[in-house]
C-alpha cells in the first residue's frame, strides 16, 4: 500500500465496528502520510463516515488499532482525537446553530481570562484572523451561525478544524452543500493545507472531486475495503468499478472486500 518510506501520520489497522449485529466497518485498514490527500470512496452506507468517526473519537471500534506517527493511540473521545491533532469537518458541519462563529470555533476549547470567565474578545479577535484567511468577506461575527449561508457555515466549520494546528484533517463530504465557486475555494484550501504538510482524509461519493485532489484512493463497499490505489495507477472507470461492483483492478492493492 505504501507509496514512499515515511512513517504514516495515521494508520488504522483492521478496524471493525458493529451496530446491532450489522458490521458497519469490517476489518478495514487505511493509512495517511504527511502532505498526502487520501480519498475515501464508496456508496452511501459503505461505512466511510463510520470509519472516520472512529478516527475522530465519536465511536469506539470493536476491534482494530490506530497508530499516530507509528505510536499506538488510544482514541476514546473526540477530545482524545484532538489531542493527537486529528480534526474533523463533519458532513453535517456539527455547528451549534444558536452560537456565533467564535463560540463554535472555540467550542470545547474556550479561551479563558485569568478569572476563569470566557475571553470572548480574544476569541473574536482570533476568529477574525482565521476567517480573514478562509473567507475574507465574512462580517457576521456577532450573529448565531444559523443566520449564515451554507458557504459561510462551511468556512466556520473549516476554521474550527484548522485553527488548532491540525496535523490530520478529516473532511466528510466537504463540498456536498456548496456551489461551484465555494467548491473551488475548498479545493484550493485542500491544496494549500497539503503544502503545509497536513494529511487529509477526503470522504466523498463524487469521484471527480476526489480524482482532482487526492494522491491515493481507498474504496469501501458494505463495510469492507475493496482496495487502495494511487490515482495515477487507476482510471476513473476502474475506481467506479471498485465502488459499484467491488472489483479490484490490476493497478490497485486489493483489500478483504474485493470480489
Amino acid at each position: 500500500m505504501s507509496t514512499n518510506g515515511t512513517t504514516p501520520l495515521v494508520e488504522m489497522r483492521n478496524i471493525s465496528i458493529a451496530f446491532g449485529g450489522i458490521k458497519a466497518v469490517d476489518g478495514v485498514s487505511v493509512d495517511l502520510r504527511p502532505g498526502e490527500v487520501v480519498g475515501l470512496l464508496g456508496h452511501n452506507g459503505a461505512g466511510k463516515s463510520t470509519l472516520i468517526k472512529i478516527l475522530s473519537g465519536a465511536y469506539r471500534p470493536d476491534a482494530g488499532e490506530i497508530y499516530v506517527n507509528g505510536q499506538h493511540a488510544d482514541i476514546a473521545t473526540p477530545r482524545d482525537a484532538k489531542r493527537y491533532g486529528i480534526e474533523t469537518i463533519y458532513q453535517t458541519l456539527a455547528l451549534a446553530d444558536n452560537i456565533d462563529a467564535a463560540g463554535n470555533i472555540f467550542l470545547g476549547r474556550e479561551v479563558l481570562t485569568p478569572y476563569g470567565t470566557l475571553d470572548d474578545a480574544t476569541m473574536e479577535a482570533e476568529t477574525r484572523k482565521v476567517m480573514a484567511r478562509l473567507n475574507p468577506h465574512f462580517r457576521r461575527f456577532k450573529e448565531p451561525v444559523k443566520a449564515l449561508s451554507g458557504g459561510q457555515r462551511q468556512s466556520v466549520a473549516i476554521a474550527r478544524a484548522i485553527y488548532f494546528n491540525a496535523r490530520v484533517l478529516i473532511m466528510d463530504e466537504p463540498t456536498a452543500a456548496l456551489g461551484p465557486a465555494e467548491t473551488q475555494q475548498v479545493a484550493d484550501l485542500v491544496l494549500q493545507l497539503k503544502k503545509e504538510g497536513i494529511g487529509i482524509f477526503l470522504i466523498s461519493h463524487d469521484i471527480h472531486d476526489v480524482f482532482g485532489l487526492a494522491d491515493r484512493v481507498s474504496v469501501m463497499k458494505n463495510g469492507k475495503l475493496v482496495g487502495s490505489a494511487s490515482v495515477q495507477d487507476v482510471t476513473q472507470d476502474e475506481v467506479l468499478g471498485m465502488i459499484i461492483l467491488g472489483k479490484c483492478p490490476p493497478g490497485a492493492t486489493p483489500g478483504p472486500g474485493a470480489s
Partner: protein, 432 residues
C-alpha cells in the same frame, strides 16, 4: 459581548430597527417590557388606581421572588431541550425539611432563636435541593431516562416525601431571623440600605459598560456609538433608582412603625413617622440570583456548553464537551435554586406545609417560556425569564385586586401563556 442568543436586530428590518440596532437592544425584551406596561396600566385603570401604588408594587416584587429564582434555573433546563416538572415538589419537600430542622432539631442543640439557626437552615435547603437535583440529573444524563419522565416521577415522589416528613403536619412558626428571608416587615431593608444598594448597582452598571467598551476598542472591534452607551446607562440607572424610590415610598404600617420607634428609642411624633419599607430581602436575593445565573450562563464555560448542547447536542458531543456531566449539573443547579426558593416561601408563609410549591412547576415553566425561552432548546435568557415571572405574577395579583374568581384567574393565565408563545413564534418566524 452578548449572550449566545439571538440578540441582534435583523438586517431586513433595519429601517424600523435602526435605532434599536444602534443601541443593540433585544427587541424581544423591549416587547416584553411593553406588554408588562400594558398589563400594569390596564390593571391600574380597572382597579381605580390601586395597582400602581408603592404598596402593591412592593408586594408584587416579594410575591414574584420565589418563582423568579426557580425560573432562572428552568431557562438552562429548557435550553438543553429538557424540562423539570418536579420543581414545586422539590420546593415542598425542602421546605418541610428545613421547617423540621429549625423548629424541632436545632433548638434541641442550640436553643430557640439562636443566630446560627437561620444560616444552617438555608445551607440545609441548598444542599437538599441540590442533591435531589443532581440525583434526577444523574438519572436523566447517565441512565438516559427522558427528563419529562424522571421529573414527572419526581413530582409525585417529592410531593409524597414532603407529606412524609411530618406525616402531613404543618410546622410553625419559623425562626425570627429566618423569617426575614420571606420579606414582610422583618425582611424589609429600610430606606438607607435601599439607596445604598441602588447607588452601588448604578456604579456597577456604568463601570461594566465602560469596561466592555474599552475592551472592545482595545481589540479594534466595532462599538456602539458613545451616545448609545450613555443612553443605555442612563435608562438602566434611572430604572434602578426609580425602583428604589418606589420601594422607599411604601411606609411601614403605623403600629409596626411605632413599635420600631420605641425599640430604637425614637420619640413617637404627633402625625406619626414615615418609615420606609425599602427593598425586601427576598427581592435582593432574587436579583442576586439573576445576576449570578446570567454570569454563569453567558460568561462561564458551563453556560456556553449548556447553550451548545441545546443548539446541537451531537455537535456539542463531537466538540469534546462532557455533555452528560453538564446536563447533570444543570439539574443540580435547578434543585439548588428550588432550595433557595423553599427558604423564601417557607419564611414568607412563616410555616412549612406539605402543599408549599404546589403548581409552582407550571408557573416556573410558564415564566421561562413567556420570557422567551424556546422549548426547542438553545435559546433563552435569565433576565427574560425573571421578567416572565413578573408578568405572570402581575396578572395574578391584578386579578386578585379586581376580585376575579380563582377559576377565571386560571383561565386567564392559561390563555395568556398560549397567546404569548404564539406571538413569540410569529416574531421568530418574521426575523428568520
Amino acid at each position: 459581548m452578548t449572550a449566545p442568543v439571538a440578540s441582534t436586530a435583523p438586517p431586513s428590518s433595519a429601517a424600523s430597527g435602526s435605532l434599536l440596532s444602534k443601541l443593540e437592544i433585544d427587541a424581544r425584551m423591549l416587547g416584553m417590557l411593553a406588554a408588562l406596561a400594558v398589563i400594569w396600566v390596564g390593571f391600574d385603570l380597572l382597579s381605580g388606581g390601586i395597582f400602581l401604588t408603592p404598596r402593591n408594587l412592593w408586594n408584587l416584587s416579594v410575591q414574584t421572588a420565589s418563582v423568579a429564582i426557580m425560573a432562572t434555573g428552568m431557562v438552562l433546563v429548557i435550553v438543553t431541550r429538557n424540562i423539570d416538572l418536579s420543581v414545586g415538589a422539590i420546593l415542598g419537600v425542602t421546605g418541610m425539611i428545613i421547617g423540621v430542622v429549625q423548629v424541632q432539631w436545632l433548638p434541641a442543640y442550640l436553643g430557640f432563636e439562636h443566630w446560627l439557626t437561620a444560616p444552617i437552615a438555608v445551607l440545609v435547603a441548598i444542599a437538599v435541593g441540590g442533591l435531589i437535583g443532581l440525583f434526577q440529573g444523574w438519572l436523566i444524563a447517565y441512565l438516559g431516562i427522558p427528563s419529562f419522565i424522571v421529573t414527572l416521577g419526581g413530582l409525585l415522589v417529592w410531593r409524597g416525601a414532603a407529606w412524609w416528613v411530618t406525616t402531613g403536619q404543618t410546622i410553625a412558626p419559623m425562626d425570627a431571623n429566618f423569617k426575614a428571608l420571606g420579606g414582610g416587615v422583618e425582611g424589609a431593608l429600610g430606606a438607607n440600605a435601599t439607596w445604598i444598594i441602588a447607588a452601588a448597582a448604578c456604579g456597577i452598571i456604568i463601570v461594566a459598560l465602560g469596561l466592555s467598551r474599552r475592551r472592545r476598542l482595545s481589540f479594534g472591534f466595532p462599538v456602539r456609538p458613545g451616545w448609545a452607551d450613555a443612553v443605555i446607562a442612563a435608562f438602566a440607572c434611572g430604572a434602578v433608582l426609580g425602583t428604589a424610590w418606589i420601594f422607599n415610598a411604601y411606609p411601614l404600617p403605623a403600629r409596626t412603625a411605632r413599635r420600631w420607634a420605641e425599640a430604637n428609642g425614637i420619640a413617637w411624633p404627633e402625625g406619626g413617622l414615615f418609615i420606609s419599607h425599602g427593598i425586601a430581602l427576598p427581592v435582593v436575593i432574587a436579583v442576586l440570583v439573576g445576576l449570578v445565573m446570567t454570569f454563569i450562563a453567558t460568561r462561564r464555560r458551563f453556560g456556553r456548553y449548556v447553550f451548545a448542547i441545546g443548539g446541537n447536542p451531537e455537535a456539542a458531543e463531537l466538540s469534546g464537551i462532557n455533555t452528560r456531566w453538564t446536563l447533570m449539573k444543570v439539574f443540580g443547579l435547578m434543585g439548588l435554586l428550588c432550595g433557595i426558593s423553599a427558604c423564601i416561601s417557607t419564611a414568607r408563609l412563616n410555616a412549612a406545609t406539605n402543599a408549599a410549591g404546589s403548581l409552582d412547576e407550571l408557573y416556573v415553566i410558564a415564566s421561562a417560556v413567556i420570557g422567551g425561552t424556546s422549548l426547542a432548546g438553545g435559546i433563552g435568557t435569565i433576565a427574560g425569564a425573571m421578567l416572565g415571572a413578573l408578568v405572570m405574577q402581575s396578572l395574578q395579583s391584578g386579578m386578585v385586586l379586581l376580585g376575579v374568581d380563582t377559576p377565571l384567574q386560571n383561565i386567564v393565565v392559561g390563555a395568556v401563556l398560549v397567546l404569548a408563545v404564539w406571538v413569540d413564534s410569529l416574531y421568530r418566524r418574521r426575523i428568520k
